[in-house]
């Protein structure tokens, strides 16, 4: 039974009417979203659309983590940040817009870099983590922590007009480390804003599905979006027995 805190108000029933209508979603699904706590790691190209749609869908708590300040070169894709926000903290800029979009969402902002020292406190007690980062070392750090703490982790990444997305359910599916085992030298990446727009929306969709329990997750499947040819390809990723993060070799130390 939902508690009085998660029961929907009349206004909420009206606000979310169109998604409550979705088969198997219903008011029960909306109540689950209201109760849910999602971490969005990064509020840039991927984090902006993911946060917008998760806030609009009525997720109860969104924790947004980003230590960057808004720069002019961010604005082609990071749609939560506008001209007036240049120089401002990204989490502050994001929170302002998301509050205006849906005052019913509890927003927690953390203007810090995720490190191996603080990663646990960043994610503990949350239901889903959205990987909306712009660098690979922190993606692997979060992947490992998500597995350790048994929190579903939704990976998304972009390059130019190409995007990749995969859902990781600890103990049930292949993880990011099963897919790639290393990191190349860091380089500035090109990106058309619509690419993280599409991938971030897919990540938000996956989070909503996991929380409401509808549909089939993008687990053990890497979805590749090729915007140049407007083509989606699905590749099967298998759990690696000797994976350093989720296999028998996995250590307990982060």
């Amino acid at each position: 039974m939902p508690s009085k805190f998660t029961m929907l108000t009349l206004e909420e029933k009206q606000r979310y009417d169109r998604q409550i209508m979705i088969p198997n979603f219903g008011e029960a699904g909306q109540e689950k979203l209201k109760k849910a706590k999602i971490v969005i790691a990064g509020s840039g190209g991927l984090g902006s659309p993911a946060a917008i749609y998760l806030a609009a869908a009525g997720v109860g708590t969104l924790r947004i983590i980003d230590n960057d300040k808004v720069e002019l070169s961010n604005l082609n894709r990071q749609v939560l940040h506008w001209d007036k926000d240049i120089g401002r903290s990204k989490v502050e800029s994001a929170a302002e817009k998301l509050t205006q979009l849906n005052k019913g969402v509890r927003l927690e902002t953390i203007a810090k870099t995720i490190t191996d020292k603080n990663v646990v406190e960043m994610i503990a007690g949350f239901n889903v983590i959205i990987d909306a980062l712009d660098n690979l070392p922190t993606r692997f750090l979060l992947n490992k922590a998500a597995i350790e703490y048994n929190i579903p982790f939704i990976h998304g990444a972009v390059y130019g007009l190409e995007g990749r997305v995969m859902t990781i359910v600890p103990g049930k599916s292949a993880c990011l480390r099963c897919l790639y085992q290393g990191i190349p030298p860091k380089k500035k990446f090109p990106v058309l804003g619509t690419t993280p727009g599409i991938i971030g929306c897919i990540q938000a969709t996956e989070a909503i599905k996991l929380i409401t329990g509808i549909g089939k997750s993008l687990t053990n499947r890497l979805l590749i979006y090729d915007g140049l040819n407007m083509k989606f390809t699905e590749l099967i990723v298998k759990h690696r027995k000797n994976c350093e993060h989720c296999g028998t070799k996995a250590g307990k130390q982060l």
């Binding site: 990444a157 390059y159 130019g160 790639y180 290393g182 190349p184 590749i224 090729d226 390809t233 590749l235």
Partner: protein, 90 residues
């Protein structure tokens, strides 16, 4: 035997901007070798100095991941191999 190797956007500039390349070979390794023969600049992007697959490159054959110790798997006419170079942009 004709096999197609699909390249991710990141690697296309090392292969005359081609999205896919036709190669010949009986195993995945032979197909990758033929790709490198056609586009030698791809070698350093796919393999390390010891000739091992880079840890940040993933190979898929018949839409399924193939690990670096399984490159001797045979391929059949018409198969597609995907090379993925890790991307981390957001």
């Amino acid at each position: 035997m004709s096999i197609v190797i699909n390249l991710p956007a990141y690697l296309r500039s090392y292969a005359n901007d081609k999205e896919s390349v036709k190669v010949k070979g009986k195993t995945i390794q032979e197909c990758l070798n033929d790709l490198i023969k056609q586009y030698p600049e791809l070698k350093k992007m796919v393999f390390d100095q010891d000739g091992q697959l880079h840890t940040y490159v993933s190979i898929f054959a018949a839409n399924e991941i193939v690990y670096s110790d399984q490159l001797d798997k045979s391929v059949k006419d018409g198969d597609t191999i995907h090379i993925l170079y890790i991307i981390g942009g957001g």
